[in-house]
Symmetry: C2
């Protein structure tokens, strides 16, 4: 039977990454494709202990309905941490726990955009965000991403050309997919441009704590004296992705509407794991745990970059991330991306073609995304060699 | 600062129930207001054991990203259970795990309705569903609910009057808020009417397993030879509400779009608790566990009904549910609902005014919802006496 699917959902395709992820059941394929954190980064033992304790002492709270805003003690932890570590959170701000950063992105769009409105994004950008915007009937307009962040002139031109632009979506730190970090000068420029033009910035920072090289750069939200930035992050890359616990810090007028929107999406986020996050922050040393993850990714990223240098230096162009999970590779002129990705898969290595990350779904790409987070060191070396063979 | 909130979200208010729930921090107030299951219904000890085992043996799977459709073994459990116990699931159907039944309802609307479309609902109906429809810019049109289900003539008239009606949302078994169960004749009539008029039925059945009196009645989905019914249920009322694990069984063409819509809302449902549900179903006796819950509610409901008979028989009219969590009370003529609810709260008993459940937010009501699920036996008796004093 044919069903009348809503206009906003009709053209939306499943995420290419999720689809690739599903096809990775073949254990002989080296996956550089996933966006998953390294499983070694999960503090399993500590979580098991906390879990047993919650079941012994607070089971009713953990298993009963909770409030939409989130588990109160965890919200306090998040507020304190954002303040102390990132200078984030002013009197006009509030915090809500969401079911992974993905929900935060989707709610921000739902609350601020009508169908037919526009969200400006870095191009390339995170496919989950692009599709969240599209699922709200919103247009995505890409602005080129350069080595030090979004192209400022192109951003101003895009704002002029798109009077229905409501939101500017950015991943300023260790961008997905490009692994690029926006410099402070551009962050300040972007903030001023948004302020001048009445745009709300949605700053997505899921990888911000994963810096393993270079200097910290202030978040855009830390500049936010004017209440124009929605900050979104999560525990997915530092504790567990599967538990789906993220958070938003934004002006209260926006947060209150996000609470209403979240209430009708899932009532609230899994209470047990909210309590578990709170207990981990209280009883363990989250910063020390994160240091361990940084060391892990530093080593793996260095290995991937040095192998890329050896095997593909001068042929494939690639970014040199200072944190996060991803390296963005650009093929030499004349190599067709789609053919290349197929040859790579035949050579037992999976990558994500850049077309998946384009704001314009019909636009071509000559780039692809790879990750060092989940493959083993051996797989990193083997996989890069396979990428060379596929050229 | 004033923010430009989207049209669909601007007028949406937080759920009155959630707001009342938040105000219930006063421990001297007897709450008949919540929609929470009895905490005694959570199989805490078994869940603690399973949880320890998952952390020991399957931690990586439980804490890593999963697939949007849901944990495969749990989906198989759900399919088998729906088939064996409810005659639900044909070759054209598929199943998706959702973050509580609430998400299933919201996704069904998002996938099938454009802004300006209409969803027909029983009046009164579940506020979480009404607000989910409204958050998609969809109109809710109520059709009167009678003692044996929706008024069939009024339904046919509403379909004629609303050519943009796409969905018919029903809670045929132990309805929320009214506690009413639709008889089989009306279920079959509703199915035929929907089929004739090209309407999709969204059958919400969160309480279906909680029958403690009377005879089982087949679900509408069990009649579905034509692929026109979306069936939504969850583990919230039989295992834990706070974990947020629900499911949908619907024609594959609809499920596939729901998968895409879910992907951009929260990527997937908490993996750990999906695994926990699967393990509970595999290693324990879910039916026996449910029998215990039924006995619990049977006792509490009987006490509430007999106290209502004694204290308010002949003054307040009330439904006699055969399962579920709720009793629906109607005030005598001339008593103002809003004043009454305030007096009840002053007398330390909280109820939910019927206005919260109206499809038309401006419509009046002379009824209110009470629950026997969470108050103690002593509180049930005291609370009903307080309701009498408030008249």
């Amino acid at each position: 039977m044919e069903y009348n699917i809503s206009d906003k959902m009709r053209s939306l395709k499943p995420s290419a990454i999720r689809e690739i992820f599903k096809s990775l059941s073949d254990p002989t394929i080296i996956s550089f494709a996933a966006g998953n954190p390294a499983p070694e980064s999960f503090p399993t033992e500590a979580m098991a202990k906390i879990s047993a304790d919650i079941f012994s002492n607070e089971a009713t709270t953990a298993l009963q309905y909770g409030i939409t805003e989130g588990y109160p003690a965890l919200r306090e932890d998040i507020k304190a941490r954002l303040k102390n570590k990132f200078g984030i959170g002013r009197d006009f701000d509030n915090t809500i726990v969401v079911t992974g950063g993905q929900q935060g992105i989707e709610l921000a769009c739902k609350v601020l955009c009508n169908e037919g409105d526009t969200v400006l994004v870095e191009n390339p950008s995170f496919i989950g965000a692009l599709n969240a915007f599209r699922s709200n009937g919103v247009n995505t307009v890409g602005v080129p991403l350069e080595d030090d962040g979004i192209n400022i002139e192109a951003l101003e031109a895009a704002i002029k050309a798109n009077p229905k632009a409501k939101l500017l979506y950015l991943i300023p730190t260790f961008q997905n997919p490009a692994g690029i970090t926006t410099c402070e000068t551009k962050r300040r420029a972007v903030y001023e441009i948004a302020k001048k033009n009445g745009l709300i910035i949605l700053e997505d920072n899921p990888y911000g704590e994963l810096r393993f090289a270079g200097e910290e750069i202030p978040t855009i939200k830390s500049f936010d004296e004017d209440g124009i930035v929605i900050y979104c992050s999560s525990f997915s890359k530092i504790l567990s992705a599967g538990m789906r616990v993220g958070y938003i810090c934004a002006p209260d007028g926006i947060v209150q509407k996000m609470v209403v929107a979240k209430q009708v999406e899932d009532v609230h986020t899994n209470v047990f794991f909210q309590m578990l996050c709170h207990r981990f922050i209280t009883d363990y040393d989250l910063d020390e745990h994160i240091e361990g993850i940084r060391a892990l990714y530093r080593k793996k990223c260095n290995l991937m970059l040095s192998t890329l240098d050896e095997e593909l230096g001068g042929t494939i162009k690639f970014t040199r991330p200072e944190g996060g999970l991803f390296v963005w590779c650009t093929l030499p002129k004349g190599v067709d991306l789609s053919d290349y990705v197929k040859r790579a898969l035949a050579n037992k290595v999976a990558v994500v073609p850049g077309t998946a990350f384009n704001a314009d779904t019909e636009a071509p790409s000559d780039s692809f995304r790879i990750t060092y987070a989940t493959p083993s060191e051996e797989q990193i070396v083997e996989g890069i060699k396979a990428l060379k063979r596929s050229l």
